[in-house]
Amino acid sequence: MPHAIRRAICHLGQLGLLAVEAVVSFLTAGVRPRQACAQIVAIGIGSQLVVIVTGAFTGAVFAAQAYYKFNELGLGSATGPVVSIAMCRELGPVLAALMVAGRMGAAMAAEIGTMRVTRQIDALRAFGVDPVDYLVVPRLLAILVSMPVLVAEAIWFGMIAAELLTVEVFGVPAPWFEGQLLAHTRTSDVVTGLLKGTVFGLLIVLISCHRGLHATDGAVGVGRATTRAVVDSSLAILIVNFFLSLLLNRWLPTSSIDL
């Protein structure tokens, strides 16, 4: 057990160092625009469909569950605000980040891990190129640009799907649903979601790149690094989300639902 704790602390330390290296590299060497654009396309545009589908179905299923229960209590009108706050503050950023971790975190760890075991990382260094500057910084920048957009899309499509279900299937009047939803959704709710998504995105890149950069033992090692990147990123998202929720609920509180 102490060995496991030591390893975890060592791992966290390495992640911290990678983050510092990336910031220093960004400040001193800038960003490679070609690499950053390629990563924005891969992360931002490539993840659109999966994030939209996740957001839409999560919003719809949450609306259904909320409506059934609230309607029994005569609180059917609370469905809109509850879905909105849940999508903005929790489900949108967390599920979008989990999807990006599964899709792009795995890809990053596999690509960088393969480069590591086939000596391409050594080749970069041999040509005087810093692997952090070449591989990590463009991905960090790309996720900083992409993640808020992806989270906003997940939230937006979640709300649209929730409205479609509540209005078209359960018969709640559209103006009532929209009025309640807009009245109880604050800017702070949206900002919370976007902030969380950005933090989760940075975690995904740092964890996945770190796993890739430390891959060993050929193809088996790359597979192991890929699995660990996804698992570690997903756990980090869920754990950090808990602490961020506590913090942001104090700094950026939501409105009270007054029916």
């Binding site: 690509e111 393969t114 480069m115 086939t118 000596r119 391409q120 050594d122 080749a123 260094r125 041999a126 040509f127 005087g128 190129v129 810093d130």
Partner: protein, 254 residues
């Protein structure tokens, strides 16, 4: 030793020690690599040849001892401080280590771009020139996974040459190639050597390659230098391990 005493050695290695996974791989290696000459590091598998080579451009830091390139001790240098030195040293990696995501042309142009060359015409001309040197003209658009082992090595050699380095490090340039390809690569290296007078360090276990290109031979066994001198002297050595290595190679050729 074949170096000119008036010209300082390109690399100076003193009492270099290194371990991998707790095993001692280099045990006090000392050698000079003369400027403008070809030094071949010879030895069997696991002798520590490639590990020694990785110290010469700072890809590995010494556990103890010093490695100097152009008079600069590489050990204490940061990655950033190593960059100007590394840019003067080209490397041909054992399996080529070509960048999978780039075609041949982009691979070869990579060191040029990294050294700040932005003019596409200049880059294209140099890429064409070095690909012609290695016999791969008009192959710029091919991706690395479409190349044979020999072609990958030649592209890697072209990439190493592209930025006009002062020194080339070859890690097992003929490993995994059939005898004909192996001889072609060796002849190519010898031709480049005579044409550009680069300082070269070649790690190999092929005596044939060594005899073709070497000005100086270093024989490593279990992380210790057992012979360092001219290639002819190796054949006259009484060291039983060297005799065994030479006779094993002779048997392999029969």
């Amino acid at each position: 030793m074949s170096g000119d005493p008036d010209i300082p050695p390109f690399f100076e290695v003193r009492d270099l020690r290194q371990t991998l996974d707790g095993q001692e791989v280099l045990r006090g290696v000392s050698l000079d690599v003369p400027t403008g000459k070809t030094t071949v590091i010879l030895g069997g598998s696991g002798a520590g040849k490639s590990v020694l080579l990785r110290h010469l451009n700072g890809l590995m830091k010494p556990l103890a001892g010093t490695v100097k390139a152009l008079g600069t001790d590489l050990g204490p240098l940061s990655e950033k401080a190593l960059r100007p030195i590394r840019r003067r040293i080209g490397v041909l990696f054992q399996d080529g280590a070509l960048f999978d995501s780039m075609d041949v042309g982009a691979n070869v142009a990579f060191p040029l771009r990294e050294q700040g060359e932005r003019d596409p015409a200049v880059i294209a001309a140099r890429v064409d020139e070095v690909l012609s040197l290695v016999g791969l003209r008009h192959q710029e658009r091919k991706m690395p996974d479409a190349l044979s082992g020999g072609m990958r090595k030649r592209v890697s050699l072209a990439r190493a040459l592209a930025a006009r380095p002062d020194c080339l490090l070859y890690d097992e340039p003929t490993a995994g190639l059939d005898p004909i390809l192996s001889e072609n690569i060796t002849r190519l290296i010898a031709r480049l050597q005579s044409g550009f007078h680069l300082t070269s360090v070649m790690v190999t276990h092929h005596l044939g390659s060594m005899r073709f290109v070497a000005d100086q031979v270093v024989f490593l066994k279990d992380g210790v230098v057992r012979y360092a001198g001219d290639p002819g002297g190796l054949d006259r050595s009484d060291d039983p391990d060297i005799r065994e290595f030479l006779s094993a190679d002779a048997m392999g050729r029969e």
